[in-house]
Amino acid sequence: MSQKFKNKIDVYTGKLLRYGVLVSCGITVFGGILYMFQYHGKMPDYSPVPFGEPFGVSENLRGISGIVRGLLKLDGASVIQLGIIVLIATPVLRVAFSAVAFLIEKDRQYFAITVTVLIIIIINMIFGLH
């Protein structure tokens, strides 16, 4: 396949990464401003918790449904979490994007390689759900 087409794929992949990071950063900063007003003066406790005891951020900040509910109330912490989800999705989308690019390029070998990576990522996410 032509060098020109290869260059195009590289340019679009770069753009995808850049916009993903910029959008994520924008959402996170907006959430941060809300967070500063809503949690003003409060010092959260991050000190070590013994293994086995309840640990972590509140339940509603751990999943999409809780975060969406928080977004409707313009909760700063939920808006930040949305920005982080966009950030996590960016490299995964990049792999999906590359798969399509290799398919258009008719590079079957690298299409198969890229799809394999996607499948492994999905397996990894499912394994984490227990």
């Binding site: 770069g14 996170t28 967070y35 991050y46 640990f55 990049r94 492994i120 990522i121 984490g128």
Partner: protein, 277 residues
């Protein structure tokens, strides 16, 4: 809280700068800052470091692709190894005490730090590539500092692939990008030029970290109050890092890289021995 935000933001700038320059990812600075500097729970440190690694990786990768240094095919092929390794690492993390993992990891890192600092500049001009590299279309070229285009051939694909599996397992286990191992596999084993290795490693770290980050988010290890200042700081730092990389010399990068993994290894061993993990 406002003072904590400022400290975290400045720490993030430093992490992003170092992470993008070395290809190590931002976690190297973020984990010690949160876990030892500020005395926070290790799990919050790991959760924040993972998000940081994705930000540095994606942010800097966007710039590197434009500079035409990254080899996407090498990255994609080796991502099979790192992501599969990450699944394996996450599985054994459930059964193995983190204390031992930290000590073993620290020892391996000291070994690679010494190797990196003592090693002389590798000659990459040898024209023979491995058959597998030829078949997988991995050989490439990149623009050097003096605007010359340098061609390179890839060797020992199987060896590099094995070390990448180990790198992936370690990131699944410890929540870091383990860019150190990624660079080692590409630079030392596969004989890919150092600049191509660091940028391709940087490009890959995000994908491996993203897979684990979903798990950490569901477990509640990613705290918005920590992630916001650190991530924005890291992105600013990574931006400066990516501006400097095409101009920086491989020798200086290697030294910086060696010092970074050495401090990381000492920290990991210390944490393991004092039960801080």
């Amino acid at each position: 809280m406002e003072i904590l935000f400022i400290i975290l933001f400045c720490g993030g700038i430093l992490a992003g700068f170092v992470g993008s320059l070395t290809g190590l990812g931002g976690g190297v600075v973020v984990i010690p800052l949160l876990a030892i500097g500020l005395g926070f729970d290790m799990r919050y440190a790991i959760g924040t470091a993972l998000v940081t690694s994705i930000a540095t990786s994606s942010g800097a990768a966007a710039a590197y692709i434009r500079e035409r240094i990254t080899n996407i095919r090498i990255g994609m092929l080796l991502e099979i190894a790192t992501t599969a390794g990450a699944v394996f690492g996450a599985l054994i993390a459930v059964y193995l005490d983190k204390k031992y993992i930290a000590v073993i990891f620290g020892c391996v890192l000291i070994f690679s730090a010494i190797r990196t600092v003592l090693k002389r500049e590798t000659k990459h001009s040898d024209s023979s590539a491995s058959k597998l590299a030829e078949k997988l279309n991995l050989n490439g070229c990149y623009p050097a500092a003096n605007s010359k285009i340098i061609d390179y051939k890839v060797k020992n694909v199987a060896g590099g692939f094995s070390i990448m599996t180990l790198a992936g397992a370690l990131s699944g286990l410890l929540g870091i990008g383990s860019g150190a191992f990624k660079v080692l596999a590409m630079d030392t084993v596969m004989k890919i030029p150092f600049k191509v290795s660091t940028t391709t490693s940087n490009f890959m770290v995000g994908v491996t970290a993203a897979a684990s980050a979903v798990v950490y988010l569901q477990r509640g290890y990613i705290d918005p109050g920590l992630a916001m200042p650190v991530v924005t700081g890291v992105l600013s730092g990574a931006y400066f890092g990516s501006k400097i990389l095409p101009k920086a010399s491989a020798k200086k990068l290697r030294l910086l890289f060696g010092i970074m993994i050495l401090s990381l290894s000492i920290l990991m061993i210390y944490n393991g021995l004092t039960d801080k993990m």
